[in-house]
């Protein structure tokens, strides 16, 4: 079949990132052709500053070399800009005359430096700071001449000035306003920055309006509106960028300040997508990579025909990449009316921190000299966290919330897994730690390769290194392996879960074929996982495969160290009757159970049952109305309850009754891992609901819902999900939460690590959306219609009889 043709105009950071994301989702969908105006393969533009400062070489900043294009069968045309888009004939025309037809087009032409049109602006020696050619030109000039003027005291201008000084030039920065980096810094922080840069030998001319570039052929000086002049052999204009959209506009695509795109990153021509600095989205043009990478993800999602992602804009933060200067800024850092500001100033130590608060929420942050908590403040800002509880110590940083703190390492350790470490690529602490632990990473390079953290602007390198230092050597890992699923496969759990759904794979053999398994029938790790994924995705259709189940689930009992089994009947909500107890007692007598015990899950365990006896024993128990407790399974285990309102003098709701209802709804369901629930009748919480996968704490006005807790090896207290008012709502939220977990978690991943991995917010968002919640709950209840068949009864009636009978022979 002829593949669709995708053409990318602009071989830069946003465009190629889109292609990378697309290849992850749909590697074989398109024949891809990339046109780049520059003569290089895709490189990291951000790193031009360190290249200029001599800290890196051009080779170090190549992101995808030519071999990458070849490996992915992408046709790359460098140094051949597109000059025209013919939307009627659906083709692009390059400067060389080459033509390339497309089915879908992606425009990512970036932006161009703004050159102030003063007299003399076109003289030799006047340049912008945008690409490798500019850097080479600066380096070459620095080798032959002495004086440079950088016009513009913003981020880019200061990085250029810093680089030129390092190359031995005499540099003056001319800035129109009286304060540097006014878009990122307030005045006190800007003053500190200026003082530091001056101490490094940089000259400043503040409030300086450029009037003319003087020279004859080559630039000799810059003259300002106040009449003063500064000698210059090189003039770098760093006063702003202009989105590069002339190509699109000439093709009749609607543009304002940039190419207009929707939340799906489509232009007004639905075949044409655009990402990066050349676009305008909801009125905003971005000039930093983090938002562009978000855009790339969305565009790729739609190009891959998934059609589910939306780009809704980004909040950005900035750091300056001048070695030895720590500076961070985010949000609205100049207070408006009604805002409050918290300021910490220690001029001797060169530290300045300011937070702008509105309604006890962080709206903006500026930090100079000590930026370690930037990631934390940025997280509080984006999540709109109410900081009133720890407002008094907020400025001292996150480590101050807990213990006394032990320097940087303690502060990084204090960051939650959700804290963003790498702003460019949106990589969170949890993901990095996860990758280090699960993939056995030891070096910065490996972390970059696996997580992309620290692979763009590099300003988080210190944080990543601290994480490496604190994580490596710590052996314990609670969560299951992440990637690949097992030694038989190359794909991750997530890819396989998605593949089963997207491609309608309904048998284990089909999954193995689709994902090119290396073994014929898998192994003891992947078979149970696939069996679960298929069972949960196709309830009622997929037939459970007994031989892919761990023996406990195959025999519906818990294998003991001596090869016997334990049997645990369900006691819904921990309630029982005399006749239940009598049936259990009778079974113990009849099958000579050596020991009985009340479990931590409020029911009775009978140990040491011989496998051959299991079917008959179950038969007796099921006849007495007792069903399997699944005490052996990756399944719903127990719903623990307390005495509650009926008896307890403090109880405010019927916790026991609600627990029974929850257990009746959920018993029999297979899960990625074991799943426990509890209901406590009041906040005294006797049922320990706050260390369960799903916990309910009754309060006077309703029910507090909690998720993601567990006891066990590593205790984790639940996160509070929300409060609801009726039992029906408890059941609906519970079903929806369980179903989301069943559909998305990795096999053998309990809710606690799952919640930490995907983020509480993701789950909250899904469950607070009424339509999504109801749909999830409905899918759960549907799957339960197939799952609530007592396996004991089925076995007692003769199913899988061979499993329990030995073949006896007389000889040998």
């Amino acid at each position: 079949m002829q593949r669709e043709r995708l053409v990318l105009i602009g071989n830069g950071m946003a465009g190629v990132r889109t292609v990378e994301e697309l290849l992850k989702l749909a590697p074989d969908l398109y024949d891809i052709t990339v046109f780049g105006a520059e003569p290089y393969p895709n490189y990291n533009r951000i790193m031009l500053s360190p290249v200029l400062a001599g800290e890196k070489a051009v080779d170090d900043i190549i992101l995808n070399g030519r071999d990458w294009y070849a490996e992915n069968a992408i046709t790359l045309k460098t140094a051949d800009p597109i000059v025209r888009i013919d939307r009627v004939a659906r083709k692009v025309i390059a400067a060389s005359g080459a033509e390339q037809p497309y089915d879908r087009l992606l425009i990512a032409t970036g932006s161009t430096p703004f050159i102030i049109p003063v007299p003399g602006h076109d003289k030799d020696g006047v340049i912008g700071f945008r690409d490798i050619a500019d850097v080479e030109k600066m380096l070459e000039t620095a080798g032959r001449f002495k004086n440079a003027v950088v016009i513009g005291g913003g981020l880019l201008g200061l990085e250029a000035a810093n680089g030129l000084i390092k190359n031995g030039m005499n540099v003056t920065v001319a800035h129109l306003l009286d304060s540097l980096m006014e878009r990122q810094l307030d005045k006190p922080a800007a003053a500190l920055l200026k003082a530091t840069l001056e101490s490094r030998g940089l000259n400043f001319r503040m409030g300086a309006q450029t009037a003319e570039i003087v020279g004859n052929g080559r630039v000799q000086a810059v003259r300002f509106a106040d009449g003063g002049t500064v000698d210059a052999d090189l003039v770098v204009m760093a006063v702003g960028i202009r989105p590069n959209f002339s190509l699109a506009r000439e093709a009749g695509i609607h543009c304002e300040r940039g190419i207009m795109v929707s939340d799906t990153m489509q232009t007004f021509d639905p075949r044409v997508y655009a990402v990066g600095e050349c676009v305008q989205h909801r009125g905003v043009c971005y000039g930093l990579v983090a938002p562009l990478f978000d855009q790339a993800k969305v565009a790729a999602n739609h190009l891959a025909n998934y059609g589910i992602a939306r780009y809704e804009g980004s909040v950005t933060s900035t750091k300056l990449k001048v070695t030895g200067i720590d500076l961070f800024s985010a949000g609205e850092f100049n207070e408006g009316e009604g805002d409050e500001t918290l300021v910490l100033q220690d001029p001797a130590a060169g530290i300045y921190k300011k937070l702008v608060l509105r309604d006890n929420r962080i709206k903006g942050a500026v930090m100079y000299g000590d930026t370690l908590d930037g990631a934390w403040y940025f997280q509080l800002l984006r999540e709109g966290t109410d900081v009133s509880a720890f407002r008094r110590t907020l400025l001292f940083g996150q480590h101050d919330l807990g213990d006394s703190g032990h320097g940087d390492a303690a502060r990084i350790a204090a960051l939650g897994p959700e804290a963003e470490i790498c702003g460019c690529n949106g990589v969170r602490k949890g993901q990095i730690v996860d990758a280090i632990v699960k993939k056995g990473l030891f070096t910065l390079e490996e972390v970059r390769a696996h997580t992309k953290a620290s692979s763009s602007c590099g300003s988080c390198t210190g944080l990543v290194e601290s994480l490496l230092a604190s994580t490596v050597g710590e052996g314990y890992s609670a969560a299951p392996s992440k990637k690949p699923l097992c030694g038989c496969a190359e794909h991750s759990h997530d890819e396989i879960i998605a593949g089963i759904k997207e491609h309608g794979l309904k048998t284990m053999a089909a999954v193995r074929r689709h994902f090119a398994w290396r073994t014929e029938d898998g192994c003891a790790r992947c078979r149970p996982a696939l069996n679960y994924y298929l069972l949960s995705r196709w309830p009622g259709e997929y037939r459970d495969d007994a031989q892919s189940r761990f023996i406990n689930e195959r025999a519906h009992g818990n294998i003991q160290r001596d090869g016997t089994y334990s049997v645990v009947p369900r006691m819904f909500g921990g309630l029982c009757t005399p006749s239940d107890l009598r049936a259990i007692a009778d079974a113990c007598d009849k099958y000579q159970v050596p020991e009985m015990k009340v479990t931590g899950g409020q029911r009775i365990d009978m140990f040491g049952v011989k496998k051959e006896d299991l079917p008959a024993m179950w038969k007796d128990l099921t006849e007495a109305g007792l069903v399997s407790g699944h005490a052996y399974g990756k399944a719903l285990r127990t719903v623990k309850t307390c005495a509650g309102k009926t008896w307890c003098r403090f109880g405010v709701q019927d916790s026991t009754g609600l627990g029974v209802k929850i257990e009746q709804m959920t018993w029999g369901s297979w899960m990625p891992h074991k799943f426990k629930a509890a209901v406590s009748g009041c906040p005294r919480n006797c049922a320990e609901a706050t260390i369960k996968d799903f916990g309910v704490v009754c309060v006077d006005s309703g029910y507090e819902l909690h998720i993601g807790g567990n006891g066990g090896i590593k205790v984790r207290v639940t996160d509070r999900l929300c409060k609801v008012e009726t039992e029906e709502q408890v059941l609906e939220y519970g079903a929806a939460f369980i179903q989301k977990y069943r559909e998305e978690a990795h096999y053998l991943e309990r809710t606690a690590p799952w919640v930490e991995r995907v983020g509480l917010q993701t789950i909250k968002d899904a469950l607070s959306d009424e339509a999504e919640r109801k749909a999830l709950a409905e899918r759960f209840l549907h799957s339960q219609t197939f799952a609530q068949i007592d396996p004991w009864k089925a076995r007692a009636d003769g199913a899988e009889a061979h499993e329990f009978r030995k073949i006896e022979i007389a000889v040998a």
């Binding site: 014929e520 029938d521 192994c523 892919s548 160290r561 073949i807 006896e808 022979i809 040998a812």
Partner: protein
Amino acid sequence: MNDWIDIAALSDIPRLGARVVKTATVEIAVFRTAQDTVFALKDVCPHRGGPLSQGIVHGNTVTCPLHNWKIDLASGEANAPDEGCTRTYPIKVENGRVYLGDARRQAA
């Protein structure tokens, strides 16, 4: 011919599963692979004696249910890095019936 004992039909053993054959002195696990090859091992894991018949069968290997050692069905050897070996027994399939070699003669 007397050396072989008819123990079961091939179809009595689940594919990728096992049955236990109990003799007067020993329990033997008889495995059937996806390709219908059969193997017989003493039903005792070289690690801590786990019942291998209850493990998951994949390729020509069984993973012990107690601590996940992987035992080669043909040789009875544990896969590296684990070390240990379980006794194997001769076994064959003819006309859909499974025959176990007489253990007394084996031992001799």
